[in-house]
Symmetry: C3
Subunit: 265 residues, 3 copies
Amino acid sequence: MVTPRDTWLTLQELRRVAPLVHSITNYVAMDVTANALLAIGASPAMVHAEDEVDEFVGLAHALVVNIGTLSPAWVSAMTRAAEGAASRGKPWVLDPVGAGATRYRTGVARELAGRKPTVVRGNASEILALAGASTTATRGVDSVHQASDALEAARDLARELATVVAVTGAVDYVTDGERVLRVENGDPMMTRVTALGCTASALTGAFLAVQPDALLAAAQALGVLGLCGEIAARAAAGPGTLRLHLLDALYRLDEGGIEGVRIGE
Amino acid sequence: MVTPRDTWLTLQELRRVAPLVHSITNYVAMDVTANALLAIGASPAMVHAEDEVDEFVGLAHALVVNIGTLSPAWVSAMTRAAEGAASRGKPWVLDPVGAGATRYRTGVARELAGRKPTVVRGNASEILALAGASTTATRGVDSVHQASDALEAARDLARELATVVAVTGAVDYVTDGERVLRVENGDPMMTRVTALGCTASALTGAFLAVQPDALLAAAQALGVLGLCGEIAARAAAGPGTLRLHLLDALYRLDEGGIEGVRIGE
Amino acid sequence: MVTPRDTWLTLQELRRVAPLVHSITNYVAMDVTANALLAIGASPAMVHAEDEVDEFVGLAHALVVNIGTLSPAWVSAMTRAAEGAASRGKPWVLDPVGAGATRYRTGVARELAGRKPTVVRGNASEILALAGASTTATRGVDSVHQASDALEAARDLARELATVVAVTGAVDYVTDGERVLRVENGDPMMTRVTALGCTASALTGAFLAVQPDALLAAAQALGVLGLCGEIAARAAAGPGTLRLHLLDALYRLDEGGIEGVRIGE
C-alpha cells in the first residue's frame, strides 16, 4: 500500500531539489513536457547534440529518452545519453512511442530497452510490441489495447530487462516483474491532449531523481499526473482548457489535494 | 450548396473512424496541430524518419505534408511519404508554407506539388508563388495578398495539377479548377495565433480520410475551423485564450453549433 | 530615464511596421515565441535550412538566434544567418541558452558572440560563461546566479564585443558597456513557464526592428514582457494560465497599461 503521504514526501523532496531532468524527447512533446516539469518544480533541459549529451547527462539528476519523432542522428544521441546515464548509475526513463508501428521504430525501441533503463513507460500496444508479444500492429501512436491486456507482457519484460515497466491507460500498472502497483487516477479527456503520455514519462524522470525506489517513483509520478488531470477536467470545457488547468494543478498540488492519489496493489 | 448538415455528417464519420493522420509538419505547428486533430476526434502521428515514412503512410488514413521548417533530410522524407500516399491512393495534403519567400522553398513546394497531392492549401501569396503567378515576394510566411487575388491562379493551378486548391484568408476559396466553394467563417484574431493555417491543412487531412469528395472535404474542414475560431473569439481576451477556446470548440462542436458553417458557391 | 511614453512610441511603431522577425530558435521555444511575436504585432518566421537562411535574412527586419537545442547543422545555419545579418547591417540578437553547461555549447555561444550581434540576452550564468568569468558550471539552462552578479561581466562583454548585453533575472540589466539600464518588471511565476527567456530575446528582435538605439530597444522589450507577465500573474492560478494571459496581455497592452513599465538607470 502506497499512501498519499508517501507521495507527498516525494513531491516535497522533488520541489526542494528541483532536479535537472535531461530530456531527449519528440518535437510534439517539447513544449508541454518542459512546462509540466517546471510546473511540478523540476528543471527541464532539452539537449540532443551528440557533442554534448554525454557531458550534459553528467550534470543531470535524471534522463528521459522519448522516441516519438526519432531519426538516425537523434537515435545516436539517445543511445549515447542512455549509455552515459547507465554508466554513471543515474536513473533514466525510456518512452518507446509508437513501438510496433514500424520495423524501424520497434527496432530502435528494443535496442534502447537493452541499455538498462530504470523505467520503461508506454501504452499497452507499445509495451506489447516491445515484449514481442503483440500480433496486432500499433495504430500510430495511440494504443489499441487496454493496459490490463499488457500486464503479463509488462511483467515478463520487467524481469527480462531487470527494469520497472509502467503500462498506462484508463488504469496504470507499474511492475518490477514481481510486485505490481495499480494507479487509478486520470480522466478520459486526457487522451485528447497531445503528449500527456510523454509528460508521464517526463515526470517519472523527475520523481526518479528523488525517489530511489523506481517502482514507487513511477507509480507516484503517474498518480500525481492523473490526479492533476482529474482536477483539471473538472474545470475544463475541453482539451484546450484541460491542458492549462493541468499545468496549474501540478504547480498548486498540496498536501490536502494529494489525498486524491490512488495507488494500490 | 453545401449544407451544415452535410458537414455534420462528415464530422460524425470523422469522430467514428478517428482517422490516423500522418503529419510531416513544421516545428512551430507540431503542438497545436496535434492538439487540434485530437480535439476534433482524429489520431495524429508525427513521423518523419526516412526509414519509416513509407511503412507508416501505409498505416495512415491520410498524410499531411507541411514545409514550414524544411531542410534537406525532411524534404527527402516528405517526398518519400508523398510518393507512398500517391502510389497507395491515399489522400494527402500539401501546405507550401512560405512558398515565394526563397528560391529553395519555392522549388521544394513546386516539386512536391507535382506529386499528386489531393489538396494544396495555402494563403494567397503561397498559391500565387506556386502557380508562378506572383511578381511580389511573399513576406515571410504571412500573406501580402487577399485570397480573392489568388482565385484565378488557384483555378489554373488546380487544373494543371489535377488537384483541389484551397486559398485561405478572410474568405477562403476552394476549387478543383471548375467548381469554386467559398467559406465565410473565421475571425481576424485567428491571424495572431501561430500555425492556424497549418491547422487548417491538418484538419483537411482528417476530413479527406472520411470524405472522398476532396473539394467538399477541404471546404468542410475550413468551415469547421473557421467556425470554431469565431466561437473561440467571442470568449477570448486575446490570442492566448483564443487558441485554447478553439481547441475546446473543436472538441465540443455539435449538430446545433455546426449550423454556423457558411459554405457557398 | 526612459519614460513609459518612449516605450509606447516604440510599441506603436512596432505594431505599424509588423516587422518580419527571422527566428532560428530551439524546439521548446518555437510555439511560445511565435505566439508572443504575433501577439505583440510582429510577424515571426522560423527558417533554418542552410539553403535559404541567407536569402531569408535579406527579407527580414531582424534576426534572432537561440542555441537552446543546437546541433551541428543548425549551428551552420545560425552562423550563416548571423553573417548575413551583420553584412547587411540588420539587427540580430543572440540568446546563448545554457552557455557554460557543456564545452560544446559554450564554444558555439562564444563563436556566435564574435559575429557582431546587436544584442546578447542571457541569464546571469550564461552571461558569466560567455564572458569567461564564471567558475561555477551553469545548472542546465536555469541560472544559478543573480543578474546583479553578472553586471560587471556584462559590461566587460559589451565593451569587448561592441554590443549591448542584457542580463535577465528578478531585475534585468541592459548595458552597452558604458550606460546601464535597470528593468524592474516581471513576476517570479514566469520562471515556471518554459521559454520566456527565449521570448524576451524574440521580442528584443522585434523591438530592434523599429528602435535603432539597441540599449533602449532591449530594455523596452524586457519591460513590456515583464509588465505583461505581471498583468498575467495577477489573473493566473498557475503557470498554465499565466502563459495564456501573458499572450493576451501582449496583444492588449495600451497606452494606459504601459505606464507600468519600469526602466531606470
